[in-house]
């Protein structure tokens, strides 16, 4: 299959790539741009480990063809910390012990970032709903809830 030129804008950087047209955004991020922080847990949209922001919205990057993301703003976990400073959610996950094996962590942080961008003071039900597309097997989610709460408390509610 002939490769096609695609320019992807990831974490503010532009990448000019030649890729097969059927490749997913997930595979291209991981294998062509070497941004391996985005994980492949199922490759069919069932686990959320591959969650990235596409124009600010969380999506499963395993269900997006890279070529169709040509004009989009893409953000991966590698873009969450700004100039070496952790995002408050990252800090809270570290501090509250919300990270165990860490494989689901990037996807969950991206989902939660999208939530807080839209809704800085969510209810716990809204937090849980925002995370429901991200499976975690290690933590039982408890410490993640606590970490989000530690970020949003003091923001009303």
């Amino acid at each position: 299959m002939k490769k096609i030129p695609v320019t992807l804008k990831v974490n503010g950087e532009s990448y000019d790539l030649m890729i097969a047209p059927y490749r997913t955004l997930l595979d291209v991020l991981r294998e062509e741009i070497q941004l391996t922080g985005t994980k492949k847990g199922c490759d069919v949209g069932d686990c959320g480990a591959c969650t990235v922001l596409l124009n600010g919205q969380p999506v499963n990057s395993c269900l997006v063809l890279a070529a169709t993301a040509q004009d989009a703003e893409i953000m991966t976990i590698e873009g969450l910390a700004q100039k070496g400073k952790l995002h408050p959610l990252q800090e809270a996950f570290v501090k509250e012990g919300a990270v165990q094996c860490g494989f689901c962590t990037p996807g969950i942080l991206i989902s939660l970032k999208a939530l807080l961008d839209k809704n800085p003071a969510p209810t716990m039900e809204e937090v849980k709903t925002a995370m429901a597309g991200n499976l975690c097997r290690c933590t039982g989610y408890s410490k993640m809830f606590k970490a989000v709460e530690s970020v949003t408390s003091g923001l009303g509610r």
């Binding site: 097969a20 059927y22 490749r23 595979d27 991981r30 294998e31 070497q34 941004l35 391996t36 922080g37 985005t38 994980k39 492949k40 847990g41 199922c42 490759d43 069919v44 069932d46 686990c47 480990a49 991966t76 976990i77 590698e78 969450l80 910390a81 952790l86 990252q90 996950f93 570290v94 501090k95 509250e96 012990g97 990270v99 165990q100 094996c101 860490g102 494989f103 689901c104 962590t105 990037p106 942080l109 937090v127 849980k128 709903t129 995370m131 429901a132 597309g133 991200n134 499976l135 975690c136 097997r137 290690c138 933590t139 039982g140 989610y141 408890s142 410490k143 993640m144 809830f145």
Partner: protein, 758 residues
């Protein structure tokens, strides 16, 4: 506990920042120049003879660099103990999903296309997929040459039951004769997947001199090394295993999977090869928890004292036993729970069938046994019209008792966990609505044993390196080793470093598993730290002019300094102490090995559920979990183990099931195989019961496996409390509840049982 310097504190994990920033490297993240992507061709049949494999069309596909079948790999059988599994199926496939060939290509899409071009001609054979059929005399044999296999614990022939274990105490015939009431019931549990989010992954690279480097998601790098060396026929020195972070294990990552295939594909293609299992392959050919059929029989007095007990378990092992390091599972021994029963007889059978081979899954065998025993306890209590807590309380073991099967148990602490859980949960409180239920269950699981070594180095600047080959599949083990060393040496955590090191660079370690790391690796680090501290003290003694023979008593350490207790102002830094002996660093290495331990751990869980009887929908609202932990070196990490174990247990209780039809898994996706999402996670109240002495440093006990054991029965008991039907076949689905309610008459609101605390 506030007197401690570094332990007993919820310090952040040493790898947390890497993990929240996406910098953490897992095996599938390893990219090497020229790397090829490999995939396996798998059998669609549960049992068939392989007549012919034609790989020519696949080899001709552009982009395909190597194809291998059984003829390309050594004709040996593998196994952690019982060796019964080939690297690639040779003449026979024994389960749907067994690997028959593998392809390496320039990308995964090409590899996948190539799989479709491999022609395999099978002669389908009858399959035995039902465990009870497989146990019958004269059944079709899954392994005809079983008696020739290495690692078989006792010689058996012409049977699918490759292991039969019995445990007993007293005389059950006598016991049942003494009993005033006898109860008997059957329980069944399903196959469940460990559900780690990271699928198995492996990379192999062969150097110009033939030496092999392997990256693996396996949690036991040293075993990967020895198995690979054996398979290839190289000395261990020529195989180096580089551990990556492990994206969840729960028992499923202790046996090599695709590492040998990567190696033989790399050898054939001359390029490094990566193989990552798909989620579907994980379900078809992972190593799930054994399904079980359990029969229990109990004799009691009218006042509720247990006098006799029989337990019988059948574990469906699937097509191979290779994934079990002890051939059997610890769970059989647990079939009489945590109770004082004079006469006990237990037996367990492990049986081959033409289904997915089963392996270790968080507390191997225990969740099955616990579901049966703790459900049964409630059924008996209900029949006796006793409060389920009270019935357990009067039969619970106390310190000094032997275990139900007559083993010496140290530090029996079950009642403390019961009291704490009952108090905290408000056991006996009025129901907020008629279909609300509450249930209790207890469990026990020993601290694991094994061998670990650690090197502790105090550098010239006073900072500290720990070199350990132990693994941390997300449990926090490496953080805990740092805390232990920080405590001994009184060095701040940020001046201690522990890195993932390859098998050439660290001393041998048995790896994570069985709840052993805090104890075994912890002891090795603790002792190495004590040794190096002695050297620091000896050096400081000279500088402080303290008499050498008393130095170890008279000199103290704090924040990286040494000083005489009598004169704390006169300090020697670690840096000075190191330099004073004329070395660049001080170093100690300790190996700790323990094969037999009587120490064990206890837990009581109380589940509260809301049932919608019309839909059969169970919502687990709250779990109160009291755990006998000895001492929590990192309370947040301990709570994390408990919380994760609970939610995994909730999945086992109500959601998860590897459904099978004619030996094939019919729901091999995370859409149809249902792990709890954040919306299913209950509120969790964790109670860490400290104080009972454990075998680990600072009296710590293990915590990794036990939390998942009592959940299913606690939920089943709560469901019974809510709607008056008893489900004895896991998982407790809506469908089963609706059916049971129909059979029992209408959904009857259960009278609020009067409950008192013991």
């Amino acid at each position: 506990m506030s007197d401690y310097y570094a332990v007993g504190k919820s310090v952040p994990r040493v790898d947390a920042v890497d993990k929240v920033t996406g910098e953490a490297v897992y095996t599938a993240d390893v990219n090497l120049p020229g790397i090829l992507y490999a995939m396996a061709k798998r059998s669609p049949h549960p049992h068939a003879r392989i007549l012919r494999i034609d790989t020519r069309r696949a080899e001709a596909l552009p982009g395909v660099k190597a194809v291998i079948t059984a003829k390309d790999v050594p004709d040996i059988l593998l196994g952690l103990k019982l060796r019964d599994a080939p690297i690639l199926a040779r003449d026979r496939v024994r389960f749907a999903g067994e690997k028959v060939a593998a392809v390496a290509a320039v990308d995964e899409d090409t590899a996948l296309e190539a799989l479709g071009l491999i022609d395999v001609e099978y002669e389908e054979l009858p399959a035995v997929t039902d465990v009870k059929e497989a146990m019958k005399k004269g059944s079709l044999l899954v392994h005809e040459n079983l008696h020739t296999y290495a690692g078989l614990p006792a010689p058996v022939k012409n049977t699918n039951t490759f292991l039969h274990e019995t445990f007993s105490k007293g005389d059950t015939a006598l016991g049942f004769a003494q009993a005033e009431l006898v109860f008997e019931h059957n329980f069944t549990t399903q196959a469940v997947h460990q559900g780690y989010l990271e699928p198995h992954a492996a990379v192999a690279d062969i150097g110009p001199d033939g030496s092999v480097t392997v990256w693996s998601s396996d949690k036991v790098p040293f075993r990967v090394r020895s198995l690979m060396a054996e398979i290839i026929g190289l000395p261990i020195t020529r195989v180096r295993v580089i551990p990556s972070l492990v994206g969840g294990d729960f028992g499923g990552k202790g046996m090599i999977f695709d590492e040998p295939l990567c190696y033989y594909l790399a050898r054939k293609s001359g390029r490094p090869v990566k193989m990552v299992m798909s989620r579907q392959e994980e379900f078809l050919a992972g190593s799930p928890r054994h399904p079980s059929i359990i029969r229990l029989k109990a004799g009691v007095t009218k006042s509720g004292e247990l006098v006799a007990w029989e337990g019988n378990a059948i574990f469906d092992s699937g097509a191979y036993a290779a994934y079990k390091p002890q051939v059997g599972l610890g769970g059989t021994k647990k079939l009489a729970g945590t109770y004082r029963i004079p006469h006990v007889r237990i037996d367990g059978s492990y049986v081959y069938t033409h289904t997915v081979p089963c392996g270790h899954c968080r507390a191997p065998g225990d969740p099955q046994a616990s579901f049966a025993v703790e459900s049964f306890m409630d059924m008996i209590a209900s029949n006796l019209q006793m409060d389920p807590f009270r019935f357990r309380w009067i039969n619970a073991l106390e310190d000094g008792d032997l275990s139900p099967v007559g083993e010496p148990w140290k530090g029996i602490n079950i009642k403390e966990t019961m009291t704490a859980a009952v108090k905290s949960s408000g056991w006996g409180k009025p129901k907020p609505n008629p279909h609300y239920g509450i249930g209790i269950a207890c469990a026990e699981r020993p601290t694991g044993t094994g061998e670990s070594s650690a090197v502790v180095i105090v550098n010239g600047d006073g900072s500290v390196n720990i070199i350990s080959g132990s693994s941390d599949p997300g449990t926090g083990a490496r953080t805990i080793l740092c805390q232990i060393v920080a405590e001994v040496l009184k060095v701040p955590m940020e001046r201690i470093s522990i890195n993932l090191v390859d098998t050439d660079s660290a001393p041998y370690d048995q790896g994570a598993g069985g709840g052993r790391t805090t104890f075994v690796a912890g002891q090795s680090a603790y002792r190495a730290a004590l040794e190096v501290k002695k050297e620091l003290v000896a050096s400081a003694a000279k500088l402080l002019k303290c008499p050498g023979e008393q130095a170890q008593d008279l000199i103290e350490v704090s924040d990286g300094f040494l000083f005489m207790k009598s004169d704390p102002d006169k300090k020697i830094s670690y840096s000075q102490a190191v330099k004073a002996v004329g070395k660049s660093q001080l170093m100690a290495e300790e190996t700790f090995s323990c094969n037999q331990l009587d120490d064990t751990c206890f837990a009581t869980h109380i589940a509260e559920v809301q049932v919608d009887p019309e839909r059969g929908y169970v919502e687990v609202k709250r779990i109160t979990a009291a755990h006998d932990i000895g001492f929590a070196i990192n309370p947040a990490a301990a709570e994390g183990q408990i919380e994760g174990g609970i939610v995994q247990g909730v999945g086992f209780a109500i959601l998860e099931e590897m459904q099978r039809a004619e030996g094939k898994v019919t729901n091999p996706t995370l859409s149809d195989y249902k792990l709890c999402t954040s919306l299913e996670a209950p509120e969790i109240v964790t109670l860490l019961i400290e104080g009972a002495p454990g075998p680990g440093p600072f009296q710590a006990k293990s915590i990794g496996e036990l939390p998942t054991c009592p959940i299913a029965p606690a939920v089943a008991n709560a469901v019974f409390d809510a709607i008056g039907v008893r489900i004895t076949d896991l998982p407790i689905t809506g469908e089963k509840i609706v059916k049971a309610l129909k059979e029992s008459g209408a959904a009857r609101p259960v009278s609020a049982a009067v409950r008192k605390e013991g």
